[in-house]
């Protein structure tokens, strides 16, 4: 009887040890896989992308549109107001082509940390410093701003809410997901998707600023 109990206990202990070994091995391999997954980098030449060339083109056109010399102005509007509008658009243009964006164009490989810096620069520089601090001036109750006011208000609200999805996706990368090379190449890659989204937001911001600059040019040329 004693021997039987002894053997039985040995069996249970061996079975438990085997189960623990299996689960621990699985968990270790899962973690190693996850670490490799989030350390993936994307090879990209930012300067050759069409969205980057569009952004550059838009910002060059903005620089042309906001050329204003108060000495030669003979229009109906107040020159001080036009000068402050010019300053706001010019500052906004510099915030869109910020240091983080310029730094990213020199990278040949982009990882998730670079994407997060890119996204946070969009949030801080483009949305907060450019649109809320500078362009919100255009929503004040002045007769000259009657046409542009609803356009600027609605777009600024869109830009504030635009990066919520990306931020949530990037911050949740500490949770596991089983991704394979096939899914990575076909429909889901966190690095590629996040980069494409943020780049798109920058392009939308440059398009928006271009429209504001064209409105400004029309006001300046108005007689």
């Amino acid at each position: 009887m004693r021997e039987f109990i002894n053997q039985y206990i040995k069996l249970i202990a061996s079975a438990l040890t085997g189960l623990i070994f299996a689960y621990a091995s699985f968990y270790l391999i899962l973690n190693i896989y996850h670490q490799q997954e989030i350390a993936r980098v994307m090879k990209v030449d930012v300067q050759s992308l069409s969205s980057y060339t569009t952004i550059q083109k838009n910002l060059d056109e903005v620089a042309e549109n906001i050329k204003f010399t108060p000495n030669t102005y003979k229009g109906p509007y107040d020159t001080t107001m036009l000068l402050s509008m010019q300053g706001a658009i010019s500052i906004c243009r510099n915030y869109i082509m910020n240091d983080t964006f310029k730094d990213l164009t020199t990278h040949q490989e982009i990882g998730i940390v670079d994407i997060e810096n890119f996204r946070s620069s969009f949030q801080n520089d483009v949305v907060n410093k450019c649109m809320i601090e500078q362009l919100y001036y255009f929503t004040s109750d002045r007769p000259i701003l009657k046409e542009i006011r609803p356009f600027i208000k609605s777009n600024i609200q869109l830009f504030i809410d635009s990066d919520m999805y990306i931020k949530r996706d990037i911050f949740n990368n500490s949770s596991y997901f089983f991704n394979s090379d096939h899914t990575d190449n076909t429909y889901r890659s966190s690095v590629k998707d996040a980069f494409a989204h943020v780049m798109n937001h920058y392009k939308s911001a440059s398009d928006f600023l271009l429209e504001v600059s064209r409105w400004y040019k029309d006001r300046v040329e108005e007689r």
């Binding site: 002894n6 202990a13 670490q35 500490s174």
Partner: protein, 205 residues
């Protein structure tokens, strides 16, 4: 070789236990500091570590060979503690988990809190297995009997023949055997007497 490997894993088990406990303590203290909670509420997390410490120290003090000599258990313990150490390492040092650097935390609390149930389960599993192993009684190995002489087969056959011969001799009436055996030196002297050269013989005497 097996004993050496077993001892290595046995010692490594204790080193990894201390390392994993230290990392877990650091992470939990930082986590509860951020949440504004007192460490008393983290007792449920440290209970399995305490149980493992008690059980391993009993193994060491009582010199339980069922646990000490069980290589599979030692390897499994090392693997479990390695997993916990690796999770702690990633929580602090893996910067690709963006929440690590969010708001200057320096730790991926989200990732570690997801790993806590698995850590508890693995540690409690080890404790239960260790307790089961403690109840195993060591079987007494029989002491091997050493034979004094191992005689080859040929000698045995000779012995058997001599035994048979002796038996035959015993059946016949006993005859006195001459016990005299000539000495080898006396034989040589006899040979010398039989030689032809008398002069040399005399000299040799």
């Amino acid at each position: 070789m097996k004993n050496i490997v077993n001892k290595i894993f046995y010692v490594l088990k204790f080193i990894l236990l201390i390392l994993s406990f230290a990392l877990s303590l650091l992470i939990i203290v930082k986590m509860y500091e951020r949440l504004g909670k007192s460490l008393k509420e983290s007792l449920s997390f440290f209970l399995p570590f305490l149980a493992i410490f008690i059980v391993f120290s009993i193994n060491m003090v009582a010199d339980q060979k069922a646990v000490k000599d069980n290589m599979f258990f030692n390897i499994t313990s090392c693997l479990v503690l390695l997993v916990i150490t690796y999770i702690g390492y990633r929580t602090i040092f893996d910067k690709n988990m963006i929440i690590n650097s969010y708001m200057g935390y320096g730790m991926s609390f989200n990732y570690y809190s997801e790993a806590v149930p698995s850590i508890k389960m693995l540690l409690y599993g080890l404790v239960i297995t260790d307790i089961f192993l403690m109840f195993i009684k060591e079987e007494k190995k029989p002491i091997p009997i050493k034979l004094e002489s191992k005689e080859p087969i040929i000698e045995k056959e000779e012995k058997q023949e001599t035994v048979v011969k002796e038996e035959k001799e015993l059946k016949t009436p006993l005859k006195k055997k001459s016990t005299y055996t000539p000495k080898p030196s006396s034989r040589k002297r006899n040979e010398q007497y039989t030689s032809k050269n008398k002069y040399t013989d005399k000299k040799k005497r």
